[in-house]
């Protein structure tokens, strides 16, 4: 999509020493995560391990008590979700956040056009056109990107269906397509396979692998489907009770005793 080359040697997205507390509960305790360009990073852990909270921190929805988030080496810990989106971060949600009043295709159109309206000046400039009825013309390159993303995720047939009328599994794919339409450099996927059947999950895994290979998008994958993560990811981080208990290549994680303990409950 746009320019992918990282200006420096910094990782694309990096979190260090991130700590989040909700009241007395420590949701994340000095958690670190590094996402180099064009890699797939898996994030696994039992329920309540803090995976979604970490996504909140990375995408700017939750401000950590301590720690930093960097994009291309620049500190964005205090930057808004909007600012991070402009720097190339996109995400999906575990609990679907679709725009129920729009069609599937319109979700992607909103996402594509978002970057073209950055400042209050942009808004003021486009408002007269909007009011005169000229404000719904496709932006340059919009149709290609949007229809491409729809096709990639097999959503072309439901493009004009209202998002409030599609199923949970399709909804997950729409969220992925919407995130893609914003032309991200790093895509945070919160349980994209939940609600999908085995065949759909395989297809999604294939799409994700292609995204990394062809478009150079970096992916962070939170999943319950550990098999899918271990199959796809270059690097896996395991969280349990807000702490990183293991990190490394998929093969190493598969054999890790602490991971097995967290998942299977075997005492060590």
């Amino acid at each position: 999509m746009t320019d992918r080359s990282s200006p420096t040697d910094h990782p694309l997205l990096e979190a260090t020493d991130v700590t989040v507390r909700f009241g007395g509960l420590v949701a994340l305790d000095r958690v670190a995560l590094t996402v180099p360009p064009a890699t797939i990073v898996g994030l696994i852990g039992p329920n309540g391990a803090g995976k979604s909270t970490l996504f909140g921190v990375l995408s700017g929805l939750i401000r950590p008590r301590a720690g930093t988030v960097r994009i291309d080496g620049n500190d964005v810990t205090r930057a808004s979700p909007q600012a991070r989106a402009r720097l190339g971060v996109a995400r999906t949600f575990q609990r679907l956040e679709l725009f129920g009043e729009l069609t599937v295709r319109q979700q992607l159109v909103v996402a594509y056009r978002a970057k073209r309206r950055r400042t209050l000046f942009d808004l003021a400039r486009t408002l007269p056109l909007d009011l005169l009825g000229l404000g719904n013309r496709p932006a340059p390159g919009e149709d290609a990107t949007v229809d491409g993303a729809l096709e990639l995720l097999g959503l072309t047939s439901v493009a004009s269906v209202s998002a409030s009328a599609i199923g949970l599994g399709t909804g997950r794919l729409v969220e992925v397509a919407r995130a893609l339409a914003s032309q991200p450099r790093v895509l945070l996927l919160d349980e994209p396979s939940s609600g999908l059947d085995a065949r759909e999950t395989d297809e999604l895994a294939e799409v994700l692998a292609r995204l990394r290979a062809e478009a150079g998008v970096a992916l962070v994958l939170v999943e319950h489907n550990v098999g899918m993560v271990l199959g796809l990811a270059d690097d896996v981080t395991v969280l349990d009770f807000g702490e990183v208990i293991a990190r490394g290549p998929a093969a190493a994680i598969r054999a890790d005793a602490a991971v097995q303990a967290a998942y299977l409950g075997t005492s060590t």
Partner: protein, 652 residues
Amino acid sequence: MTTYFVAGIVVGSVYAIATLGLVLTYTTSRIFNFAHGAIAFFVAVTFYQATVNWGWNAHLAGVLTIFMFSPLLGLFLWAVLFRRLTESPSSVRLVSTIGLSVALPALAPILYPHIDAVLQPSMLWSPAHEYTIFGVHVDSNQVAVVVAAALIAVLLTVLMRATPYGLSVRAAVDSQTMAGASGVNTSFVTAVSWMIGTTLAGAAGVLLGALRGFTILQFTFLLLGSFAAMVVARMHSLTLAFAGSMAIGLLQELSASQQFQHFLEHFASATNPIILGIRPSIPFIVMLVFLLVYNGLQEERFAIDTRSTAEPVREVVVTRDQPWWRRLLPIAVCLVGVLVAPEFLNGLWLAIVASGLALATAFLSYVVVTGDGGMISLCQITFAGIAAALAAQFATNHNVPVLLAILLGALIVVPIGMLAALPSLRLGSLYLALATLAFSQLVQNTYFQTSRISNFGQGVAVPRPGGLAGDRAFYYLLVVLFVLVALLVRNLERSTTGLNLAAMRSSETATATLGINIVWSKFVAFGLSAFIAGIGGGLYASYAGAANMNQFDALLGAVWLAVVVTWGIRSITGALLAGLSFTIIPQLVTDHLSGRWLNLPTLFFGLGAIALARDPRGILHGATTRRYERRMRRARRTAEPAERVGEPAGAA
């Protein structure tokens, strides 16, 4: 000075009683009750009716209205309304209680037809016993109020912190489902809290009436004072609610003291409306200061309320199945009706319909700000009023052509509106609704009262446009202008800005993570709505011949919102029908019913808003949906089961 200090403590105590009730109901059900003041008023009027018209003993009537009537009213309102709102989107919760705040005061004169327009204060102890405590003269009524407030504050704190009930409340606030699963009867918890909350509103109402008289103005002060205290308390702190109420009561009374008035005379004469407006403006100023403070503090605003601001609309499916002519049918029928109407209407009725058209133009502003933007604004009427006043100044005092004057007035309102929305826009729809309410009261009590604007209560003349001065010609001009503004609104809805607003209504979180600036988009919608309200207000004044600010009374603003919600907040046809019914129905009532029923239309609009808050397309859509569902059922019975696209995504 001490007299004013005592008065301030007493008024502050009454505010505190009301505010504590608001805190309790808000913490248990997350519903901010805009009708709290209306409930207080309703109970107070019932008390007045019992003592003055039925001749009951004042103490007995007080005890019965506060401790029997109020809790029963609370239980009733909980059962029919509040119970259903807990899981609703924020806009539905707000609009429903605003509808209630419109309906209840309108119900009072229908139930109690013999109550005079001006009600005298009626004392609890009359004549009151006089005491001197530490050299300060107080009477028994004042002591009773202060003691009652202190006692209630202590009891509520104990109830919330140290009883099983308080524990259940805190559990229910965290999660209704989890609390229910662990054996807490959440219905019982919320029902009791609404009974207590209504009792406190009733107590505040009766006490305020006893001290200050049963005028609607006093109850507006009570309402604004306790709303401002709620902002200070950030909706949940009993201590801050109490302290804030006291501070606002004290500030209001001290601002009326001779010393302060004397001090002000250095700057302006005592009859200067700006000076007179200080007292009613104090709640707004307090609210503003604390909103700005909290705006700085707010860090995780997305964690506050992740529920969507508007109900997901199912209507998309309905309209998709309709041919284009069927979709345009309602607005086409309305427009043809409006166009041929002058052939059948006499002078009075033509004027009624024409004013309705001007109002309909102003009502289109609700389609933008609430329907599209998902924001509840209670100051659209004030924008209309300011623009009308400005248009009058330009046209009459500066000889600007009237249509240009109206346009200028509407344009000037845009930055004013944006400034009014600025402190609260980030904090969500509840704070915006409160800030806009306070803003409209502020303007009403200062700017609208200046002699240059009010012109001895008549308003400054606004001529009709030259060449179109005839009733009929101006009527057609109004039709054309309504259509033009409606086209602007429709274009906006179909534009990228409109798409962004629609996205925001479903999920602000997802919109933000796509890089869309929510605050700016809302800001644009708010500014545009101020402009549209301004155009409507200017036209309304121009048809009437003068910009009379009584037509733009802040309290009427809630009725405006209620009538638009009834007909459909997201529909241009709805705005048109709302404008027409707002002038036609009261005229029908005046013509055919006795004076007792004058408030009947207002009652209808209030009830309509309550009933239809859930459906952004109002009555119109309700009828369409029912017909559609009937047709679908018939189709299913006769043919193969309709192909389904999938299960609703909302079930996730």
